[in-house]
């Protein structure tokens, strides 16, 4: 049987969802028998490969790099899943939205708050520019399924992957969709 091609990606988030992913512990070995993790922050792959069966995306869309990667992933994945509350709702990452203009936020964090020599990070091509507002993933690309949770518990991720390996979408009823 052909190995399933699974990817995970990390946008604007704390990486907690990936920690939870690792919490699947020994089941990861079983996963490895039936699927290849072809791209992930925990795998050393530079370019997002094509022809991916399903990609789990952690984190909200907060900057231009996030936006670009999200679009690339969408183009190269059959299924895209919002992985964790930040991807699904914006969550903590989106708490800057009520404050408005990101430049002002950078100003107060990097310039006004420090005692001396503060400056707004400015390195085009290295530090990506912030988007005007933080968006949930489904606001920028089509998303096929949602795995809420901050982070989603390991068994919820496992249930989602098991469903995907069986060729169906993850459960979206009951406790499987609890936020927080």
């Amino acid at each position: 049987m052909k190995q399933a091609r699974i990817a995970t990606a990390w946008l604007g988030g704390c990486s907690g969802c990936h920690m939870s992913f690792l919490d699947m512990d020994e089941w990861l070995f079983e996963l490895a028998e039936v699927a290849d993790i072809v791209y992930s922050p925990i795998a050393d792959v530079k370019e997002f490969p094509s022809d991916v069966d399903a990609t789990l995306i952690e984190g909200a869309v907060t900057n231009e790099d996030n936006l670009e990667l999200a679009r690339e992933i969408r183009g190269k994945s059959r299924l895209v899943l919002s992985f964790g509350d930040c991807a699904v709702t914006g969550n903590v990452t989106a708490m800057r939205n009520p404050l408005g203009d990101p430049l002002q936020i950078l100003q107060s964090v990097y310039v006004d708050a420090p005692d001396r020599d503060g400056q707004i990070p400015d390195a085009p091509g290295i530090v990506p520019a912030l988007l005007p507002e933080v968006l949930p993933l489904h606001k920028v690309i089509r998303v096929d399924a949602f795995i809420p949770g901050c982070p989603p518990p390991a068994d919820r991720i496992r249930a989602a992957l098991e469903a995907l390996l069986e060729g169906v979408l993850p459960p979206n009823r009951g406790e499987a969709i609890r936020f927080g």
Binding site: V61, L67, L135, H138, K139, R142
Partner: protein, 543 residues
């Protein structure tokens, strides 16, 4: 206690006064003409009459709305026992010239002549607005001289309350506030309700953009409203009435306050009205600028001094209304129809209009149309007649695209339905409503999604915030409409918008929320291609 007014004596005196001078100058002093400068025009004529010693020849009478607001200030020269000549766009100088020319030379002034044979005037049938341009709203005598308070006298002295209700029922009169509930049935409900205290409320919280039917009635014929209220109270057994007027109508409030005082002094209100056993107190209550207070449960909360938010129904106001007592709320225009019905009989009224929608309806014509102003036509008049004949059609060689009725609760009716008779049922079938009488004409330059967005913004701003679908749903609908009209909308946005239309319509607590999606629903129904043209084929392109 002073003796009640002797209506016939007042009529005689007024007749004498009418024949006192050879000329009477009637000048429209209604809000639209006043804002066009009627104040200065009237002042100029009065000054001239005084300065040139014409008092024995001419009397100047400020009147209520003459109708063709777009041609204001309007003025009418009336010769004793003879001709009337109407003038438009009468500046102070023009007014002086017109009066001089008539009085000294018996010659009209051609430049400002107003053609009263055009359909705008001839196709109207004035019941509610019969006194517009005729009486001086500040003088009760003027109202009485034109038959005022005769219906009240008739009802109090020769009819039992049941008979009054029966007459209203026979007339087929339906609520003019929008929903079209049969007035006779509503009155019966209050009449049948138990309890010592009952209330009648006149709803003058007219809030639809561009609509000013009720304002005109309250400002220009306040006694007609008071008479209607008194008859309603007599028929239903109420002894306290309120007129709820929005604070944005200061002239109406002033006129009504004064009219109530004068009516009380003349024993047309207060204790033992016209020496009968019927007593009624009427008070004006002023709103605080919330559109939702036109909804009857919110209106009652506001009268009680509470926050104006709608309450769950049942119980209905006729069971449990103001301070828990049975209460009946009628729209101002509805009540303005009552005196003529009692005067001339329910059958007469029912002979006007259509079988199910009897009588006339006042509309405020606005938008891309030659003659803007206030018109009154029999129910069942076709939209085409209103727009093309009475309204004079769409100006600047452009073509008619749609008519919006019912304000933010109504819908847009496209050109192919111009021959629809304007009545409650026909408009509802087309996805609009009669509403209170706003009628906005739009030409082919208007983009319908923009229209929907405009009304959605209105509903969003006016939502009271009590129920989720209206409070948050209108915000999201406006947001989606904004994105679509900006050209950034997606197919998914359109789908979400349509779904929200159903959610907000079906799940909202009161009429405001339930009808808020109507402008979107109707424009989507008739002008869907305009939405489609604006949206991107992509599923998601927000960022």
């Amino acid at each position: 206690m002073a003796a009640p007014i002797d209506l016939h004596e007042v009529m005689d005196r007024e007749r004498e006064e009418r024949f006192r001078t050879r000329w009477r100058v009637k000048a429209c002093a209604s809000t639209a003409c006043m804002s066009a400068g009627a104040g200065a025009t009237i002042q100029a004529v009065e000054d001239m009459v005084e300065r040139e010693d014409m008092e024995l020849e001419v009397q100047v009478i400020p009147t209520g709305c003459m109708g063709l607001c777009s041609a204001g200030p309007l003025m009418r020269m009336m010769r004793r026992g003879g001709d009337e000549t109407d003038y438009q766009k009468v500046t102070p100088d023009a007014a002086k010239e017109i009066v001089r020319s008539h009085v000294l030379n018996e010659e009209p002034v051609p430049e400002h002549l107003l053609d009263t044979t055009m359909p705008f005037f001839t196709s109207q049938e004035r019941v509610v607005l019969a006194n517009g341009g005729v009486i001086n709203p500040d003088r009760i005598e003027s109202y009485v001289a034109h038959g005022g308070y005769q219906a009240l006298e008739k009802a109090l002295t020769s009819m039992k309350p049941k008979q009054v209700i029966e007459e209203i029922r026979r007339s087929g009169l339906r609520g003019r506030g929008g929903a079209g509930y049969p007035v006779g049935s509503k009155w019966s409900l209050l009449a049948a309700a138990g309890g010592k205290t009952k209330y009648v409320v006149a709803n003058g919280d007219e809030g639809d953009p561009g609509a000013y039917m009720d304002r005109t009635i309250m400002e220009d014929d306040p006694h007609r409203l008071i008479e209607g209220i008194a008859i309603a109270a007599y028929a239903t057994g109420a002894d306290q009435a309120y007129i709820y007027v929005r604070a944005e109508y200061p002239r109406a409030i002033e006129r009504l306050d004064r009219a109530i005082r004068v009516a009380r002094r003349n024993r047309l209100l207060g204790r033992k009205i016209l020496d009968t056993n019927f007593s009624l107190a009427v008070e004006v209550r002023i709103g605080a600028g919330a559109f939702v207070c036109g909804e009857e449960t919110a209106l009652m909360a506001s009268i009680e001094g509470r926050r104006g938010t709608p309450q769950l129904r049942p119980p209905y106001p006729t069971e449990k209304g103001l301070w828990g007592a049975p209460t009946m709320i009628n729209n101002v225009e509805t009540l303005a129809n009552v005196a003529p019905i009692i005067d001339r009989g329910g059958d007469w009224f029912a002979s006007i209009g259509t079988e199910k929608s009897t009588g006339t309806k006042v509309f405020a014509l606005a938008g891309d149309i030659v003659n803007t102003g206030l018109i009154e036509v029999p129910m069942g008049t076709s939209l085409r007649e209103i727009v093309e004949e009475i309204g004079g059609g769409v100006p600047d060689g452009r073509s008619f695209k749609a008519a919006q009725t019912g304000g933010p609760s109504g819908g847009c009716i496209p050109a192919k339905f111009l021959d629809t008779p304007v009545d409650y049922e026909s408009l509802r079938e087309l996805g609009s409503i009669m509403g209170s009488g706003g009628l906005i004409v739009m030409d082919d330059e208007v983009r319908m999604p923009d229209v929907a967005k405009f009304f959605m913004e209105f509903s969003m701003d006016e939502s009271c915030g009590k129920c989720t679908p209206c409070r948050a749903g209108t915000v999201q609908m406006h947001n989606l409409l904004q994105r679509i009209t900006d050209g950034n909308g997606t197919r998914r946005d359109l789908r979400d918008l349509e779904h929200l239309c159903s959610v907000v319509r079906d799940m909202s607590l009161c009429g405001l929320g339930q009808s808020a999606p109507n402008p979107v629903i109707s424009t989507l129904q008739y002008f869907r291609s305009e939405y489609e043209a604006l949206i991107d084929e992509e599923e998601v392109v927000h960022a």
